[in-house]
Structures are given as structure tokens and as C-alpha cells.
Symmetry: C2
Subunit: 365 residues, 2 copies
């Protein structure tokens, strides 16, 4: 069964195609986009070992000419040096404006490939083939691309929409457990900000913390509903002028926690889990959200095997300080996305900093 979700954008719309075994359809699916034949596939060695040959075989069967390049894995290589490596391979193989880069990997590979494609020859085609849960439901969709500055995450980047997002749920089988959980943080986010039904489906599941314990039908629903949520929001606000900000639910404090722990101790999804717990409690403190709903949310986060406390030793003053360098700051005021009921959030920059401090104190592990 193939689920297709459309991301409608004024300049160029594209599809998210979800199906088991889809990796073997990559070439065929790309054929209908009328791309030129030259493809640069970007991945990392781990992912390439698992899925690289299949992706390439599928592309070649559809008459594409494929070269590939792998980048060292991990957030710490998400920088301009890695981008330069992609540029070098692009030059060596004479990619043209009408050529295509294919990102086969998680958010790190996807963000970098997207940025390289956005900036090579002022923008060439990119196709996203996400292999982590997080990349499937979040980073591969919506056109945000970028790399880190030594002093801050995702400070360098561009908007560049893919021509296609191709998802094969089967590849989640090899995904490390911790990465699965990290992706679940974003899925829970969609439940809280957009889709109460998705939230309820997850509440009804006995297990959420490992891929093999979650029923395939629920995985299907998680992927389809999450992608639909992201597509809805992005279609309404491509460049983050307004609505799209709600996707940052849990990310304001999350980013600060990630950056303070040097992007190592806590991964992105875990940080978002912590950030959602904090945001929920801030909303409750401000009387915007019911206490029971914060508890339902926190229980779901815990069931997904995600932390609900700050990692030991994280300095609360440090978090407050880090919030100030966040991209979402406007005239020095920190913007928060806060829930008002399950499935609905609002955006505010009127959170007193003593409330932030108090909530964070209560979350110390």
C-alpha cells in the first residue's frame, strides 16, 4: 500500500510517498519528475552499507547516472567542511543545474545534502530519502536545510524544498533504539500541536519505546499522520512567517539543552522531549493548559522511553543564557510555543523568566 501526501507550495509542490519496500521504487518514482540523468547520492558509511546499493540499483534501473559520496556520521560533522566535500564531488562529476542530489540518511545527511543542493549553482534538485524516524516525519519535509556554526546549531542554512520525499518504513528496522525514540519525540509533538487523534492512538498503544514493539499499523499511522501534519503546516507557511513557528514546540528549551550538553549527552529528540515537558509546565503555570493534560503528555513522552528531566549537571542559568542566542529571539524576547489543549498550541513571547527558571528547577534530575 502506498500513501501519498501532497505538500502544496506556491512555487513547487511535491509528494511524500510512503510504502514498505519503497526504497526499491526510488528510481521509478523519480522518473516521473522529469529530472536529468545525473544523480549525486549523499549518505554516511553506516547507512550506505545498509541501503546504498539498493538505492543505487533502483536509480540505475531507471536509467539514472549515479555517483555517490559519504560523509562522516554524526551531528559534529554537520558543518561547512562536510558541505565542501559535497561541492568537491559535485564539481568533479560536473553536476549541472538540472542534476539532482539524493539524501539517503537521517536529519544530518538530509540537512547537509539539502543545503549543498540549495547552494550549488544557486540551487539544484534534491530528493530526500529519510532513514530515521525523525527525518521521515520532520526534517526531510519542509525545505529547511543547513549546518551548524561552531557556536550554534543550524545557524547557517537556506530554504530549499525537495522534489520528492520517499519513505520506506522497513528501514526503521535497523535504526538504533535511541534514534527511534528521538523520532517519537517529534511524533508526540504533532499529537500535542496538531492531531489529537494521533495522540490518542499513541496513548492506546502498550509500547512506544522500540520499533519492534509497535504494531505496523500504528507505525503506518504515525508516519502518515505526522507527515500530514508537517505538510499541512508547511503548506500554510513555507518560510516560517507565522504558523510554522508551532513546529518549534519543545524546541526552544530543547535547543538550549542540546547546545549546553555539546550535542553529545542528549540527542535532538531527547532534548525536544525535555523541551515539551518544560513548555507544558510553563503553559500550566500560566494557567493556559490543564494540569491533567501536561500529565498525559509527560506520560506519553516517558512511554516512548524519553527523558522528562534535565540531564544531571545542566546549569539552569546556562539554559536561560542560551535561549538568547536562539534563532527564534525577536528584539531580545524569547518566543515560546505553548499548548492550550491537546492538538492546539499558541505562540507567545510573554513568558516571565522567573517562571522559566522555576519550571526548570523542578525538572532537575
Amino acid at each position: 500500500m502506498m500513501n501519498r501526501i501532497n505538500v502544496n507550495l506556491p512555487e513547487q509542490s511535491y509528494e511524500i510517498a510512503i510504502a514498505s519496500g519503497n526504497l526499491d521504487n526510488l528510481g521509478e518514482q523519480m522518473s516521473s519528475l522529469q529530472l536529468r540523468k545525473k544523480i549525486l547520492l549523499v549518505s554516511n558509511p553506516t547507512i550506505f552499507k545498509h541501503y546504498g546499493e539498493r538505492a543505487i540499483a533502483s536509480l540505475k534501473a531507471a536509467n539514472f547516472e549515479v555517483v555517490s559520496c559519504t560523509l562522516p556520521p554524526g551531528e559534529r560533522y554537520k558543518n561547512l567542511n562536510s558541505i565542501q566535500k559535497i561541492y568537491d564531488v559535485a564539481l568533479e562529476n560536473r553536476l549541472e543545474r538540472s542534476s539532482t542530489m539524493v539524501a539517503l540518511g537521517g536529519g544530518v545527511v538530509g540537512d547537509m545534502t539539502g543545503f549543498a543542493a540549495a547552494t550549488w549553482l544557486r540551487g539544484i534538485n534534491v530528493v530526500q530519502v529519510p532513514t530515521t524516524l525523525l527525518a521521515m516525519v520532520d526534517s526531510a519535509i519542509g525545505g529547511k536545510t543547513g549546518v551548524n556554526h561552531p557556536q550554534g546549531k543550524n545557524l547557517i542554512g537556506a530554504f530549499h524544498q525537495p522534489r520528492l520525499v520517499l519513505i520506506d518504513p522497513e528501514v526503521l528496522k535497523t535504526l538504533p533504539m535511541r534514534e527511534f525514540r528521538a523520532g517519537m519525540a517529534e511524533v508526540i509533538k504533532y499529537g500535542v500541536i496538531w492531531d489529537a487523534e494521533l495522540f490518542a492512538q499513541m496513548e492506546a498503544s502498550k509500547n512506544l519505546n522500540q520499533h519492534r514493539y509497535v504494531k505496523p499499523e500504528l507505525i503506518d499511522s504515525i508516519l502518515t499522520r505526522s507527515c500530514q501534519a508537517k505538510a499541512d503546516v508547511v503548506s500554510k507557511d513555507e518560510k516560517e512567517a507565522g504558523l510554522r513557528a508551532i513546529l518549534n514546540y519543545g524546541h526552544t528549551i530543547g535547543h538550549a539543552v542540546e547546545s549546553l550538553t555539546g550535542y553529545r549527552l542528549v540527542n535532538h529528540g531527547e532534548a525536544v522531549g525535555i523541551g515539551m515537558v518544560a513548555a507544558g509546565q510553563i503553559a500550566a503555570e500560566l494557567g493556559m493548559w490543564q494540569k491533567e493534560d501536561t500529565q498525559r503528555q509527560d506520560a506519553l513522552i516517558a512511554k516512548a522511553g524519553l527523558p522528562t528531566k534535565l540531564p544531571a549537571g545542566v546549569d539552569i542559568e546556562g539554559i536561560i543564557e542560551a535561549l538568547q542566542t536562539d534563532k527564534k529571539v525577536k528584539d531580545g524576547k524569547v518566543r515560546f510555543v505553548l499548548p492550550t489543549q491537546i492538538g492546539v498550541v499558541t505562540v507567545t513571547d510573554e513568558v516571565p523568566s522567573d517562571i522559566i527558571t522555576a519550571v526548570l528547577r523542578g525538572m532537575q534530575g
Copy 2:
């Protein structure tokens, strides 16, 4: 007298404001754009020494908060290292999404500042204050930004439109003669591809090869008509899907010559001059353009003090080879912009390579 030209674009339109003494109006002109107060002014030491203080004073008088950074001058520093310097200053001074970078300089400063602004926080505002003739009539308008790859010019870049282009013709007084001539190459280009009246005005002028020998009224006309030509073309085709390609008249062979001479011996405008002579002769060889018109064009190029011959020692095979790495290649075919009459050009990828070779042979110095 203030001349205002509108660049009409679907997402964001902007003005080109041309007036003597305009540099002192920078702050005031920017005030009406409702930008936030933080400004990062980017320049190079030479230009900054001449005009930096005046630009900053004008911005401060309009209540902007200004920090500045200068980059080493010259095409060879138009690279990602310089971009990283801009990023560092942006981070240090906590530029926000609604902050603005101001490019005070020629095409090198403008292209780099534009690219940094395009990619910092996925895109912040940029205002272009061009100080060379080339930047005024060409690079500051239209949103092409970028840097060089060690092996090719402008291979890395993005489209990012400025919020305002502010031109003060007075600053041309300090521009080195060779740079003035380089700008004249682009002006002559507009005459050939778009504006026969501009071509005729220049033909009627006794001198064209030094700023101080050209009447102020002709300078005014050159700036206004050239900016109008560029604005017209860009408004009709922002992302170079079609029409905009005509702006590459003279650039196909021009880029190859530049790259073969290591971007040193021949500057951009000189290379374009050579490229226009070559394109004109190719058009004549193909029977598309009258011989007399090629002669009128070549005479104008010579009157502007620009070369009409290839620099000694440039290898013709090398040029043919370099054409293949050009961004304008599609499926291995080189695209040429060729004139059919003065003020009108057409685009073709059907130029037999023996004609290119023959024309280049005839242009050996």
C-alpha cells in the same frame, strides 16, 4: 534629483534609488523599510576608508545600531572563508532574523554579503550599496549571490533579493579607471541586448573610457537605463528560467577567459568585453547578425578602453574545455546568447564548436 526604479517580484519588490549624495541618505531610505535596528555593514578596507564613516553616520542618525566588518579585497578572497568571517561577526553581535546586512562595495563585497545574508539564520535582510559601476548596474540588482569554488567562479551561491539598492554616482569619482571600464562592459551589454537608445547615446559620446571624461548627464543615463534594463529582465524572470539568460551575453566565453587567466590578468568586465566581441562574431558567422553591427559594437567596446582581443598566451583549447564546466551547460551543450540586431538577442545551444574555435583564433592578440 532622485531616480527610482522598481524591481517587481512576486515575493518582495524593491527599489533602486539613484541620486548624487545618496550615501548620506542611506539611513533615511532604510527607515521606510521597517527593518529592525541591528545592522551589520560589510565592506573592504579601501572602500570603508572612503565611505564607511559616512554610511555609518547616516545609519546612526536614523537610529540604527551598526557594527561593521571588512573583508580582504579582491576576487581571490571571494570564498567560503570570507563568508565564515561574516558569520562570526553576525554571531558575535547576535544578528537576528529581522536584522539587516548592508553591502558597501563592489560586486565582490555585494555577492559575499548577499550570500552570507541568504544563509545566516536561513535568510536575513540585505541592502546593497554598490560602489563600482559594475555593481551599480549589474551585481547589486537581481538577487544573485555567491562565492567561488577553488576550481570555478560563482559555483556556490543562492538567490536572495535585496530590500533596497542605493546608488550614489558620486562614489565613482574614486573608482580606479580600470574598474570603471570593467563596468562599462556591462553597460554596453545592456545596449546590445536590450536598449538600442542607450547604445546610441554612448556612440554619440566622444569619450567613454574614464569617468571624468564622461558627461554627468550621460553617467545619469547610463545608470538609470542600465538599472532599468536589469530590473526589467529580472522582474520577468527572477530565477533564470528563461529570459534572464540574456544577461549572460558575453559571459559564456568571458567566464572561460577569466578562469583560464586565474582571475588576475583579465578582470570580469574585460572578460565580458572579449566575450561580447566573440559572441558578436559567432552571430555574424552564423548569419544572424550584420557585420556592420558587430563593428559598431566592437568600436564601442574599444572606445570604453576595453580589450577586443584575447590576452596573449591564452590557450584556445583551454577555453573550449572550460566552457564545459560553465553553469550554463545543459546536458553537455553550451548555451550562447547571440545578438540579432542592436537591442535584441536570442539564446541558442546550437553553435558548432569549429565556429567557436575559428572565431577565437581570429581574436588572438
